[in-house]
């Protein structure tokens, strides 16, 4: 049977082919059209059934069409459209028309008339909708042509009365996207009445189909996005839609109300059923707040999100959102927050709660209680208690935004944020801690609030704890008990989770420096000093003791009376810690000791800063000395590099610039040294050994240039040019040295050609910057380019050699902001003597925790490298989710690395380090030639490599042989 069917299929197929042969003969079109459309035409003619035609069209749609042949293809499609009876094929053609009109470089105004024509005769609603979609594509392609836009709007208006929701949807979409913004333009297009697009769209707010209502609101929002100012009358219409039966309508309506409230925040609207009037933004705020308790969570999320961006709302309304009038049996009741506050202010905090403590107080007037329509009342209370965590997160975010703009609100929302620290979903907890940190400038924590905050320190999630440490870094505490409490809880945290050590120390550093006067009275107790007795000297290696000292020393920085309270060993410990943990312990003005380095007062601007001046001067000195004797230049360079390196160590804010310049100078130095080699004076074959030095120099320069290009953030195009130039010089050097040390000419051919390609590529990439490279190596090289292209390799090498010697020293302009990327592996610490034991062939997971500074796009660039003792190296790509972003320019990598190896007899160390992977094509500016489809030279673009980013850490492991 199957065979029979197959046969039949073939029969039909062959028959069709014959027919098509005849038709081709009669068609003239084929000869004039490009091949693309011809192929399509043949296919379409071949199709016997609509299903066939559809198949051909689908196949056709998979391949792109060039801009030149689009029009031809469109003609073929239209021709077929007129003949086609099956709506599904027409639908596909219509959609293809839309796709084709989007082709870059094709102006679709020529097919618009046809599209409108076929639109008028179309009966199928689906096809109509698709055609309108096509028109939308055409219209958006021609944003300048007012006449076409007017015409399309006209078409859309005509079809607005269609019975199918799909058609009406598309019409509204078209109106929203193309509806004219200025009415004055309409004058020259006579015959077309000026249409008030807003009014037309507004009429469809009450359409019977919810999808059309949604589309109408969306179209209105689209108008707003295109810069058309919406009328205020829309506000009332939108308010009615808030009680729509369908969630998507309500959701869109909330957005529209928000938009209008931002447009007319100050206009006055009446409150229904009363004579009062309020500002529109307040009214809108109340309405959106009401939607926070909507039945659909989608709407709730939308409403909660938008609340955050309504900053003009008056504080009275804002504070209502946190107020939920409590009552019990019709009597007013205070919230737990109010009670906590009262207890605190009356001085009997933590007295414990008694039965009836929350007993309701005064009677409430039943008439005055308003159970729902109280506008903003309690919106956030509801939002934060919502069932869906999406709503809760949105509410927390909104709280954050509003609190940042209003300090009084920040104070009020504190209690609620603190409550969110106990949410059941970790994400929400984390979000609220971050929020709290962002608003912490505006607030001071009460002791009871601090208590709740600190309770979270015991959380088993590391993220939560670290977020909390960050929060504590910038929190204001009001009392000395608060500080003490915080310290005690942090120490508890330290004993429970010793890995938090660094984070806790850092936290205490800030806590101390922010509250010196509060720490002062605590010092004797913290150091356990006694007026009469000498107490035992605490263990210097105890992390808890170090934590206490960090707090005290940082407080002492601004509190000169504090050191008087220290005992002798404290001073000794200070000296030790100042050396070992200098980033945590500040320099103190201690009695009988000279301050080692006076801190630069912060009010000096960078230009006046002496160290910055020093940097500038030393660089200028180098750049001015261009044609000195080589010996002098070398010495000067060496000294300057040394100076810069030392400067970078001393002044952390200049470290980036200093390092960057030093690296550049080192490259230059290497180049000069290489050119001073004796090898140049002697006949090549005799000095094979020395050539190693020059080659090594060339290689090192290359490496350094990659570092300069990829390891620094803030490098601009003008620096990239210089860096590439330096690399080009290194390559030239490489070529020359190789030419001198290799016998035979054949390998040189390839090398020369490659080098010239690179010069060519350099010229293409940096054509705009070439004028700045006057007199440089490349400038001269380009002058001689025509000669080089035709010259023999030996000659090329000769020319290069002289040019390299003559080349001048390019001035490296310093970028505004430059930072060197760096990484530190916190964990594994590499101190353990106990090897990680695991069965060979199986894997062991190694926790890696590292901080990254100034690394751009770490998700793609940072890799972990594991070096086994046998020389085997493994590169591991961490998951994007393993990177966290705790602050600008900083990243945190917490990941697991899987180690495995065959059995060893002894435990041995593997090295773990971070690498920065680079891909040179990502940096190089795209030249129009490459985009234009011409093949880019493969030499430069594909260079990929890695730069070590961190020091390597040794991990002791021991793969045991598997037991049988």
């Amino acid at each position: 049977m199957a065979a029979h069917l197959k046969k039949r299929v073939y029969e039909e197929f062959t028959k069709v082919v014959q027919q098509q042969q005849e038709e081709i003969a009669t068609k003239k079109l084929r000869l004039t059209k490009p091949s693309k459309s011809a192929a399509l035409h043949i296919d379409l003619c071949k199709a016997t059934s609509p299903a066939d035609a559809l198949q051909y069209l689908l196949q056709f749609a998979r391949k792109p069409v060039e801009a030149e042949s689009v029009e031809g293809v469109v003609r073929i499609l239209l021709e077929h459209y007129y003949k086609e009876n099956d709506p599904s094929v027409r639908l596909k053609i219509a959609s293809l028309l839309g796709l084709l009109s989007k082709t870059a470089g094709f102006s679709p105004d020529c097919i618009m008339d046809d599209a409108i024509n076929i639109l008028q005769n179309e009966k199928s609603h689906q096809v109509l909708a698709q055609l309108l979609d096509t028109l939308l594509a055409i219209g958006t392609k021609l944003p300048e042509n007012q006449a076409i836009q007017m015409r399309l709007v006209d078409v859309a208006c005509k079809h607005l009365t269609d019975t199918s929701h799909g058609v009406r949807n598309k019409c509204l979409q078209l109106l929203g996207n193309l509806g004219s913004l200025e009415k004055s333009v309409a004058k020259d297009t006579e015959g077309l009445a000026i249409r008030d697009v807003q009014k037309i769209i507004g009429d469809y707010f009450s359409d019977q189909d919810p999808r059309v209502r949604t589309a109408a609101i969306k179209a209105m929002l689209q108008l707003h996005e295109r810069g058309l100012k919406l009328h205020q009358t829309i506000y009332n219409q939108a308010c009615k839609l808030l009680s729509d039966d369908y969630e998507q309508v309500r959701s869109a309506a909330v957005q529209l109300i928000w938009v209008v409230s931002q447009l007319y925040p100050e206009s006055i609207v009446p409150i229904p059923s009363s004579n009062e009037e309020i500002r529109l933004v307040d009214d809108a705020f109340g309405k959106i707040c009401h939607m926070v308790s909507d039945g659909s969570w989608v709407v709730r999320v939308q409403a909660a999100k938008l609340l955050g961006s309504m900053e003009q709302v008056s504080s009275h309304f804002l504070e209502q959102t946190l107020d939920k009038k409590l009552m019990s049996d019709l009597r007013r009741k205070r919230t737990a927050h109010e009670r906590a506050k009262e207890l605190y202010s009356s001085g009997e905090f933590s007295s414990g709660r008694k039965w009836g403590d929350d007993a309701p107080k005064e009677e409430i007037d039943t008439g005055a209680v308003n159970l729902i329509e109280s506008g903003a009342c309690g919106a956030f209370v509801h939002g934060l208690e919502d069932e869906m965590y999406e709503v809760r997160i949105a509410a927390v975010e909104a709280l954050c935004m509003l609190a940042q703009s209003s300090p009084s609100f920040a104070e009020k929302c504190l209690d609620f944020l603190v409550d969110m620290f106990n949410d059941e979903i970790e994400e929400v907890r984390l979000q609220s801690i971050h929020t709290m940190r962002k608003i912490s400038n505006n607030i001071t924590l009460r002791e009871d609030q601090l208590d709740t905050v600190l309770a979270v320190l015991e959380d088993s999630s590391r993220d939560i704890r670290e977020a909390l440490h960050e929060l504590l870094c910038c929190t204001n505490v009001s009392t000395k008990e608060g500080i003490h409490l915080a310290l005690v809880e942090l120490l508890k945290n330290l004993t429970k989770y010793p890995t938090d050590r660094d984070s806790i120390w850092k936290c205490l550093k800030f806590l101390g420096s922010r509250h010196p006067t509060l720490v002062l009275p605590l010092v004797p107790e913290l150091l356990s000093t006694h007026p009469f007795f000498d107490t035992a000297e605490p263990d210097m290696d105890d992390p808890a003791y170090i934590a206490v000292l960090v707090l005290i020393f940082n407080a002492a920085k601004t509190c000169p009376t504090m050191p008087a309270l220290f005992s002798d060993h404290t001073f000794r410990h200070y000296a030790y810690l100042r050396d070992s943990l200098s980033h945590l312990v500040p320099a103190l003005r201690l009695p009988g000791r000279k301050l080692v380095s006076s801190a630069v007062s912060p009010n000096i601007t960078p230009q006046e800063d002496p160290s910055h001046q020093f940097l500038q001067q030393s660089l200028e000195r180098v750049y001015s000395l261009q044609h000195l004797d080589p010996q002098g230049t070398q010495e000067l360079l060496e000294f300057t590099i040394r100076d810069l390196q030392r400067l970078g160590e001393l002044q952390c804010e200049l470290a980036g610039v200093a390092d960057f310049s030093a690296t550049y100078l080192r490259c230059q130095l290497l180049l000069i040294k290489a050119l001073q080699e004796k090898l140049w004076n002697v006949a090549a074959p005799l000095y094979l050994k020395q050539s190693d030095l020059a080659l090594a120099a060339a290689k090192q320069i290359m490496e350094e240039t990659y570092k300069m290009e990829f390891m620094y953030s803030g490098v601009e195009n003008k620096q990239v040019v210089i860096i590439h130039h330096m690399r080009l010089q290194a390559k030239a050097l490489q070529l020359i040295v190789t030419a001198r040390t290799t016998r035979g000419v054949d390998p040189l051919f390839g090398m020369c050609e490659k080098f010239l390609q690179e010069v060519d590529f350099f010229q293409r990439c940096f054509i705009a910057d070439l004028p700045h490279l006057q007199d440089s190596f490349v400038d001269k090289l380009l002058d001689l380019m025509p000669r080089l292209m035709t010259a023999k390799p030996a000659e090329v090498v000769k020319i290069l050699q002289t040019m390299l010697r003559q080349s001048t020293f390019l001035h490296l302009p310093l970028p505004e902001q430059i930072h060197k990327a760096s990484a530190t592996i916190i964990e594994p610490a590499g101190e353990s003597d106990n090897p990680l034991r695991f069965t060979s062939g199986l894997v062991v997971a190694l926790d890696v925790d590292a901080t990254l500074e100034h690394v751009q796009d770490p998700q793609n660039t940072v890799k972990v490298q594991v070096l086994y003792p046998d020389g085997q190296a493994q590169m591991i790509h961490p998951k994007p989710a393993d990177f966290r972003n705790p602050g600008p320019g900083r990243h945190r990598l917490i990941t697991q690395v899987y180690l495995s190896h065959t059995a060893w007899t002894e435990p041995c160390q593997v090295e773990v380090r971070l690498l920065l992977a680079y891909n040179s094509s990502s940096r190089i500016p795209k030249s129009p030639w490459i985009e234009g489809g011409e093949m880019a030279p493969q030499v430069e673009t594909s260079i990929e490599g890695t730069i070590p980013l961190s020091k390597s850490v040794k991990v002791y492991i021991m793969p045991k042989p598997a037991r049988r």
């Binding site: 039945g295 209370v381 069932e387 609620f416 409550d419």
Partner: protein, 614 residues
């Protein structure tokens, strides 16, 4: 007039009608739920609860009220149980097996699973411990449960051809549901008990905009607006944590189901988060059995549990273990959940007596305690308790009160009313005084009428159900062709014939109706004579009438026929001389019934006379 009747059922002492309705509790009573609803000729019983406060006949509803004589099965179309609390399902075996009912009983699956356990437990206490007679037996519970039909959330169940019911999530306890009962276009929503704020194991109640004729809602907290749940949770956790940290023991007396699970989840997640080591125990028996069901009915829990159960079922407690009697004496910190909740008997009281002496320990009462129980005494501050055998127990341990309740507060009730948009609201399951306040609020803010019937009192609502009428496509298209598109805001007039045939309504064009009914068409014509003072000839008068009408009726087709008569559309006007007075002409105006409007306008126009010829 079609109507909906709702009657909260009175207690079993009925017959003695001397009781004033407000006393007999009932609709206005937190004790028990049992409501009879008649809608569209169908009778439905909502919940079948018992009163925990009585131990005689009064604890069950008065089923004799339903039918004076005759079988319940014949009268009731179905019984719906909203959730497994005994005040909502406790009388079910008595009702179905002892009074006799064989119809379907609808409840959700978790309710179906947990309900028999509770009933059996209750029966044991009543019969085995208190020795009551005339009580249902285990076999009766089993037989009763065989009549149960399980429903899913949002599943529309056809009870019979006309009656359908649909369950919505109510949040109150596992498996609690609100039910929509619908007959034709009339519908009633019964909420049972519900909770609008989510808790640690259940989500919030939700209903769509179903716009029922009547919403029957509970009103336990009619006059309360509650504080945020988070403060309470935080306080609770802090208290427990502090006590455990200083080495004390925490006793939490709970009832077996509902709050116990919520608190378990709360503590379990807290232990997990804070990495605490102190053991948590819960009493074996009922709670253990119930936890088993909680593990199974994950779709009925809240978002967090639903989303994470693939990794780990939250009800599979890691830190919470079953309690053994011997553990109470072991040293070190621990937390124990023990039944019953009011410290009046059983395990919780035993442990309390052991631990009360140390001030390091703590007891947390998570709910309300009835007067007379130990729980109530210690909550009201009593420090020396007299136990049986004249022992005096000195209470040194800390006593805390935490209210965890799963009913909607006043705001929640209003929110639900707002969501469902009912035409009428009926309050049950609350205290009369408090309900009065809520009633007033509902009427004021939603402008719907609100009822609060006492036990045995019937509320009758007349409804105006909409009756669907089928319209023939031809007629509709004809009307469409005549005018513009239908405008939602303006009513349109449409001529047609309504045919009622076997409770089936159809609107068809009159021609088709005639054809279908086999009738011939009769024409009805009105004629009217208008006397006109005109001395001219008939012909001329007719001409004058023609020109006058032509100028007045611009949108109509006015014609002057050769025989001297004038037509306006289908209206015929003929002029004739008056037989007696030749100076008066008589205009004969004749129109069909369909043109009544135009015809009467014409006559009134003609009666005003013709304008003077100029």
């Amino acid at each position: 007039m079609p109507e909906i009747r709702v009657t909260p059922l009175g207690a079993a002492e009925a017959g003695s009608t001397s009781h004033p309705p407000s006393c007999s509790g009932a609709g206005q009573d937190v004790g028990r739920s049992c409501i009879l609803v008649s809608i569209g000729g169908k009778n439905v019983m909502l919940d079948c609860g018992m009163h925990m406060g009585f131990s005689d006949d009064r604890r069950f509803p008065d089923f004799s009220y339903i039918t004076r004589n005759g079988r319940l099965t014949d009268f009731l179309d179905c019984v719906i149980i909203s959730h497994f609390h005994l005040d909502h399902c406790g009388a079910l075996p008595y009702f179905s097996e002892m009074v006799g009912y064989d119809g379907p009983i609808y409840m959700t699956q978790p309710t179906q699973a947990i309900c028999p356990i509770l009933l059996e437990d209750y029966r044991k206490i009543a019969v085995d411990k208190k020795g009551e007679a005339n009580f249902f037996t285990s076999q009766m519970i089993k037989d009763c449960m065989k009549k149960v039909v399980a429903v899913h959330l949002h599943q529309t169940v056809q009870v019979d051809d006309e009656l359908e019911i649909k369950a919505y999530y109510a949040g109150h306890v596992l498996g609690a549901a609100m039910f929509q009962i619908k007959v034709g276009s009339e519908s009633v929503v019964y909420t049972g008990d519900y909770n609008m704020t989510p808790d640690r194991h259940l989500g919030a109640a939700w209903i769509d905009k179903c716009r029922p004729n009547l919403l029957i809602t509970e009103s336990t907290y009619a006059t309360t607006i509650r504080d945020s749940k988070r403060c309470r949770e935080r306080d609770f956790l802090k208290k427990v944590h502090e006590t455990v940290e200083r080495g004390g023991k925490v006793l939490i007396p709970v009832f077996a189901l509902g709050r116990a699970q919520e608190l378990c989840i709360l503590l379990e997640t807290f232990w997990e988060r804070m990495d605490l080591k102190a053991p948590i125990y819960f009493s074996t028996g009922l709670t253990e059995k119930a936890n088993h069901y909680y593990k199974l009915f994950i779709p009925w829990t809240n978002q967090k549990i639903r989303k994470t159960f693939v990794q780990r079922n939250m009800f599979e407690f890691k830190h919470i273990k079953a309690f053994d009697r011997a553990f109470a004496d072991s040293p070190g910190p621990m937390v124990v959940f023990a039944t019953p909740g009011m410290l009046h008997a059983g395990q919780s009281l035993q442990i309390f007596r052991k631990w009360a002496g140390s001030e390091r320990n703590m007891v947390i009462m998570p709910g309300y305690c009835v007067q007379g129980t130990v729980g109530h005494k210690i909550l009201s501050g009593q420090r020396k308790l007299e136990m049986e055998g004249r022992q005096v127990l000195e209470v040194k341990m800390q006593v805390e009160y935490m209210s965890f309740s799963a009913h909607a507060d006043a705001k929640g009730i209003m929110q639900l009313v707002g969501q469902a948009e009912p035409e009428n609201v009926l309050l049950v399951h609350g205290e009369a005084k408090k309900m009065e306040f809520l009633k007033q609020k509902i009427e004021q803010e939603f402008r719907v009428s609100c009822y609060m019937p006492a036990n045995g009192e019937t509320v009758t609502l007349s409804t105006s159900p909409s009756i669907p009428v089928g319209i023939s496509l031809g007629l509709l298209k004809r009307e469409m062709a005549q005018g513009l598109l239908p405008d939602a805001k303006k009513p349109r007039l449409l001529h047609g014939t309504l045919i009622m045939k076997d409770s089936n309504f159809r609107l068809v064009s009159s021609e088709q109706a005639l054809k279908e009914l086999g009738l011939s068409e009769h024409q009805l014509r009105f004629t009217c004579r208008v006397h006109l003072h005109d001395t001219r000839k008939e012909q001329e008068t007719a001409l004058r009438v023609y020109s006058h009408l032509k100028s007045v009726l611009k949108d109509h087709c006015v014609q002057h026929l050769p025989d001297g008569s004038v037509t306006v559309e289908s209206i015929l006007i003929q002029a004739a001389a008056h037989s007696e007075d030749p100076s008066t002409k008589v205009l004969l105006v004749s129109w069909t019934y369909q043109d009544e409007e135009l015809g009467s306008y014409l006559t009134s126009l003609l009666k005003k006379g013709l304008p003077q010829a100029s």
